[in-house]
């Protein structure tokens, strides 16, 4: 009898605890997710009117040169963060992991600190810093080289992609460094010592002991960084005042989604863009999971 009461209490509590989440999940996650599939085959003008157009949105999208520019820019930015930022983050983690290094915790804090600002505020600071004449970057360059003509470099209009990559390098390198530092805790000290006794030099120890131990985390960081990079929005949106810049040089996929959905009012076309992006992301995630599985099977 008492056990039955207890069991009933448990069930009541369980569902009381679950209900708020389930309601929120159904309304704000599952329902929009289903609607996004319907929207993608409709054309809308604002949220009130829907016109069924079938797969036309996707056909238009493939033929849309601006969409391809957005894809190209987004991929360029993603490659920038993969091949410049992550290696640097890993090297920083290696250096700062050494216990003999003095001041390593203060360095960690300094490198991580830009992450505290949040993307929007970093974007504002970036916009101010890369402004021509008034910006900190050009004024430093002009001051160092004593060449005032450098004040006129118009980063935001002429070199938007390198500017985006530089700002995100500043913002994310310390963040990814933290993950790599955590991963380096998994490296087995005795394995390293054994390798050293066996005559392995620093490079070989790195290659055969350290890198295999951090690989799971590295895979995760690569995936996280790709997912984030492919959804880049705030930084170029704020740097370029809401448009893609000259010749759409700084237009990203999510900016294009935003423009179509909220400036032109076609939530259908925006959803089609969203689905293409989602399929890219899910495809990448699956490829990565498969690669990890294969490696584990080989070991």
């Amino acid at each position: 009898m008492m056990f039955r009461r207890l069991r009933e209490n448990q069930i009541v509590f369980t569902w009381a605890a679950l209900t708020p989440f389930i309601v929120l999940f159904l309304v704000f996650m599952l329902y929009p997710l289903i609607q996004s599939a319907f929207l993608a085959v409709n054309q809308t003008y604002g949220p009130e009117t829907r016109l069924y157009v079938g797969p036309k949105n996707f056909r238009l999208l493939i033929q849309d040169p601006v969409f391809w520019i957005a894809i190209k820019n987004t991929l360029l930015y993603t490659l920038g963060s993969l091949f410049i930022q992550l290696p640097l983050a890993f090297v920083l983690a290696l250096v700062l992991n050494s216990r003999r290094l003095r001041g390593r915790s203060i360095y960690r804090l300094i490198f991580f600190s830009p992450q505290l600002m949040g993307l929007v505020f970093v974007s504002i600071l970036g916009a101010l810093a890369f402004e021509k004449r008034a910006g900190f970057v050009n004024r430093s360059l002009a001051w160092i080289t004593n060449n005032p003509s450098l004040l006129e470099i118009d980063w935001l209009q002429t070199y938007i992609m390198p500017t985006l990559i530089l700002i995100s390098l500043w913002l994310y390198v310390g963040f990814n460094m933290i993950y790599f530092l955590a991963a380096l805790q998994n490296v087995d000290d005795s394995l390293l010592e054994a390798a050293e006794i066996d005559g392995a030099g620093p490079f070989n120890r790195l290659r055969h002991v350290v890198i295999p131990s951090v690989r799971p985390v590295a895979t995760f960081v690569v995936l996280l960084s790709m997912i984030g990079s492919l959804q880049l929005f705030e930084l170029p949106y704020i740097l370029l005042d809401g448009n893609g810049g000259p010749n759409n040089d700084g237009l990203t996929i999510v900016m294009y989604l935003y423009q179509n959905g909220f400036e032109l009012g076609d939530l259908g076309y925006a959803s089609a863009v969203g689905w293409v992006l989602a399929l890219m992301l899910i495809g990448l995630a699956l490829v990565q999971i498969r690669m990890v599985r294969k490696e584990e099977a080989m070991r």
């Binding site: 996650m29 329902y31 997710l33 929207l39 505290l116 505020f121 959804q231």
Partner: protein, 285 residues
């Protein structure tokens, strides 16, 4: 662990490189802070401080707080209050809801548990950008556009929070403790509050901070949902401030300093928890 036994020379090179890199990372803040203290006339004099007769050749007297006081003439103060309200409400509700759900999914035995867990985990793969357009339509249909609740409600039940709390409970709450409390006559709600929450306190702290920062820095949702200027948070207000006061650099910089200062202080106080929260779920122990 040690990858290399560095010689004295290579060690000094490392130190020099780290030092220079740290300077490069810190310079933009320094510039931001100093330039926010310069008057409009002084903005272009000197790279950092305005040169003058004072200590270190700097004209200290010409530094001013006028940019900060000018901020109050804009709608920036209102936006700051909004940001504090949105970020803390979102953090508190998301933490309570996710902790309760995560605990139940980790410990209660009931029909449908596996199904719910799988659906929650599966939903983690949905990129948030896919939901932007349909969520807008949904909020329109619910009459929640330009409403504070339209902004806040969708942030109260993040699936990744349920996942994090489920993991934290599995790792640090032993079944025996719950059973013992139950036999001693503790109510189910009491078990959650008195036994479970203290055991997962690090995750509670980390998650409060993560969700607070997430909302504080959120730009695209308030940009889409809120139209009335007086409802907007700092993130949206500051980007519009830039459109209006394009060349009033001092004012924009003061606004940026004010927007990031609370978050920086919060982080410095709760640093340990934040980093442990950041890497939890990512790294196996």
């Amino acid at each position: 662990m040690s990858v290399a036994r560095p010689s004295k020379i290579s060690r000094s090179v490392t130190h020099l490189a780290l030092f220079l890199l740290a300077v490069v990372v810190l310079l933009p803040y320094t510039w931001l802070l100093v330039a926010s203290l310069k008057s409009r006339e002084d903005f272009f004099s000197g790279l950092f401080f305005p040169p003058g007769e004072g200590f270190l050749g700097i004209s200290w007297d010409s530094l001013t707080l006028e940019n900060y006081s000018n901020l109050f003439d804009t709608r920036f103060g209102r936006a700051a209050i909004n940001s504090v309200f949105y970020a803390s409400t979102s953090a508190i509700f998301a933490t309570i809801i996710c902790a309760a759900t995560g605990y139940v999914l980790a410990k209660s035995k009931f029909r449908g548990r596996t199904f719910i867990t799988l659906v929650v985990l599966g939903s983690l793969i949905v990129p948030p950008t896919l939901l932007i357009a349909p969520s807008y339509e949904l909020l329109y249909n619910l009459g929640l556009l330009d409403s504070v609740w339209g902004l806040l409600l969708p942030t109260f039940g993040p699936a990744f929070g349920v996942f994090l709390f489920r993991q934290a409970v599995q790792q640090s709450v032993p079944d025996e403790l719950i059973e013992a409390a139950r036999i001693d006559g503790c109510s189910e709600f009491g078990i959650f509050i008195i036994i479970v929450l203290p055991l997962i306190r690090p995750m509670v702290g980390a998650f409060l901070l993560i969700t607070f920062l997430g909302m504080w820095n959120n730009f695209i949702s308030p940009q889409i949902v809120l139209q009335t200027a007086s409802k907007q948070p700092l993130s949206v207000a500051i980007s519009q401030l830039r459109g209006v006061y394009r060349t009033d650099y001092g004012l924009l910089m003061a606004a940026t300093v004010v927007s990031i200062a609370p978050v920086a202080v919060l982080f410095l106080v709760l640093q340990k928890q934040f980093i442990s929260g950041l890497t939890s779920g990512a790294v196996k122990g």
